[in-house]
């Protein structure tokens, strides 16, 4: 069974979604993960866009969370203020799984989506937090999607937009942030988790065919790869759901 690393990322994320989850997703591969889960093992999960569309049918994939395609056959519409509050609301927050992307991540899972300092060529501005810092600050589970590249997995962020485990240990709690830091970083080559206690990033799974040494070389900071195992390849059924139901037009998978 052939599959791309993008498909593997989507399926690894989809597997983390449970039937009672409220999935806060963006566009691109994060919405594919949500749709794949909903069409497969988690039909009861609710897909929620930060723009306020609750559980739309997603017959046509949105190219932005503001795309009118998130409105079609939604079950409810909320304002932005109402929607983001579900991340904090004590009843809903514990069901939330947030899927985030960023330009940079550090060893504690802190994220930068605001700006990159490119030395001489100056600042490269990025779009800013959007809902990322809200998701990362709140209770519930957070999954990060990142391409595994040295310029992305950095020793020091140029700007800390979204809190991970902050400086590790219990610093997150000490800053008064509700709930835990990210649980998984899903990349195109493997999956990272955060060690109990220190909250430093460790390699948890490498995708079939990847070398652990190569993965570690793609991270600027030291990363423990000792306890990593090979990830399960996507099953035929998972791939069929992803390709035929979630993105039949190949808008995102191509």
């Amino acid at each position: 069974m052939r599959y791309t690393s993008k498909e593997m990322m989507v399926i690894c994320a989809a597997r983390k979604i449970r039937n009672t989850d409220i999935v806060f997703c963006g566009t691109g591969i994060s919405v594919l993960a949500a749709v794949t889960a909903k069409c497969w093992h988690a039909p009861g999960c609710t897909i929620l866009f930060e723009t306020g569309a609750v559980d739309p049918s997603l017959e046509d994939l949105p190219l932005a969370v503001g795309d009118p395609r998130v409105m079609h056959r939604a079950s409810a519409f909320c304002s932005l203020a109402e929607t983001l509050a579900f991340l904090q609301n004590p009843k809903t927050a514990r069901h939330v799984v947030g899927i985030l992307g960023a330009a940079q991540i550090d060893c504690y899972g802190n994220l930068n989506s605001t700006r990159i300092n490119n030395g001489e060529s100056g600042e490269v501005r990025l779009p800013g937090s959007g809902g990322a810092c809200d998701m990362a600050s709140s209770a519930g589970r957070k999954i990060v999607f990142m391409k595994l590249e040295r310029r992305r997995f950095v020793e020091k962020l140029d700007y800390l937009t979204s809190p991970g485990w902050l400086q590790g240990g219990n610093t997150r709690e000490r800053h008064g942030l509700p709930g835990p830091g990210p649980c998984h970083v899903i990349t195109d080559r493997g999956i990272m988790e955060f060690e109990e206690g220190s909250r430093r990033m460790v390699l948890s799974r490498y995708y079939p065919g990847e070398s652990v040494r190569d993965l570690a070389a793609r991270v600027e900071f030291p990363i423990d790869v000792e306890s990593s195992k090979e990830a399960f390849a996507p099953t035929e059924e998972e791939l069929a759901v992803l390709r035929e139901k979630a993105d039949p037009e190949k808008l995102i998978l191509d």
Binding site: G28, A64, G66, H72, E123, L126, P127, S137, P178
Partner: protein
């Protein structure tokens, strides 16, 4: 009410009456949806400058205003156009060149800032951003904040929950200051002559942006009869007394989408991405398409270059076009 209470304006008339250089203005919509583009173009045409711009997560309107040099400061949660421009293009260049100052907030914080303004309270509590640079880094320094009394003296303030039980660890909240813009501009589907406004589909932060503002311009696809709205008050997002000017501008959100009316124009947005990438070609666009047209109808004609807008028209069931090619 009778017709003497009508708030109907021409677009040029509304902009010249309510928007002036140096104002704090707020644009509705979200990324590629319901940006008040006709109004943005008219602001550029009238050479309004030095704007202090509030947006939630914008988008085409922000980028054209910034590119045209109309903006000096921005407060926002997100400046991008989804897949068409993950970061707004003129905006990125203006940041690099130090032409604008930007104060960054989160999505929820920006929504709460507009909500605070609409509620007439000086602040609201947020639960996000402890430990981050959103809390610790300032886009506006003390001097900037002191220079304009409409900017609050601090970006954010941290406080402990005063209702924590004795002995318990108090929740820490981040207070966000209210935004009360001089003018808010939104584009909606329908409004009546008194300003009662219907937003179909998601409302984003538009209703709060409107209520927070000192003056409000609503552009809309259609001005409808007062009676037609009285049959469905539940669909009215904004009471008339919040609105100062109502302007009928069909395709007033183009090239962004207007649910149930038309889709975003992926062809234009791709073209725009390339055009905006260089200051020179963007300047040609502004001169040719905005200053070179007298109003939004002419702009549309020039932009669509005779192709017509019909491919963008919304499918009546889906609310967006089923005919545009979205794959690049």
């Amino acid at each position: 009410m009778d017709s003497s209470d009508s708030k109907i304006y021409s677009l040029a008339g509304a902009i010249s009456r309510f928007v002036k250089s140096g104002d704090h203005i707020s644009l509705g919509g979200f990324t590629i949806n319901r940006n008040p583009m006709a109004a943005v173009h008219e602001i550029i045409r009238q050479k309004v400058k030095d704007l202090h711009l509030y947006v939630h997560s914008n988008g085409q309107g922000l980028d054209e205003l910034v590119g045209a040099g109309a903006v000096r400061r921005v407060e926002a949660a997100y400046c991008g156009n989804g897949r068409f421009a993950p970061t707004c293009i003129c905006f990125r260049r203006a940041c690099r060149d130090g032409e604008i100052l930007v104060e960054d907030y989160t999505n929820h914080q920006m929504a709460l800032r507009f909500l605070a303004g609409s509620m007439g309270v000086p602040f609201l509590p947020a639960m996000s951003s402890a430990g981050t640079d959103i809390l610790h880094q300032q886009g506006f320094d003390k001097e900037v904040r002191n220079s304009d009394p409409a900017i609050p003296p601090a970006k954010l303030e941290v406080m402990d929950d005063p209702f924590a039980r004795p002995g318990a660890v108090a929740d820490r909240v981040v207070l966000v200051p209210a935004v009360n813009p001089d003018v808010t501009l939104i584009h909606a589907q329908k409004a009546d002559m008194y300003g009662y406004t219907v937003i179909e589909g998601l409302t984003f932060s538009d209703a709060e942006q409107v209520k927070a503002a000192k003056k409000v311009i609503v552009t809309c696809e259609e001005i409808v009869g007062v009676e037609s709205l009285k049959k469905r008050p539940q669909s009215v997002a904004i009471p008339g007394f919040c609105v100062d000017a109502v302007v009928e501008v069909p395709f007033g959100a183009y090239p962004t989408a207007c649910y149930r009316y038309y889709d975003y124009d992926p062809v234009f947005l791709e073209w725009y991405r390339k055009t905006a990438a260089e200051a020179e070609t963007f300047s040609d666009y502004v001169n040719g398409f905005i200053h070179g047209t007298g109003d939004h109808d002419e702009y549309m004609e020039k932009t669509l270059a005779g192709k017509g807008a019909s491919v963008l028209l919304a499918d009546p069931d889906k609310g967006y076009s089923v005919r545009i090619k979205r794959k690049s």
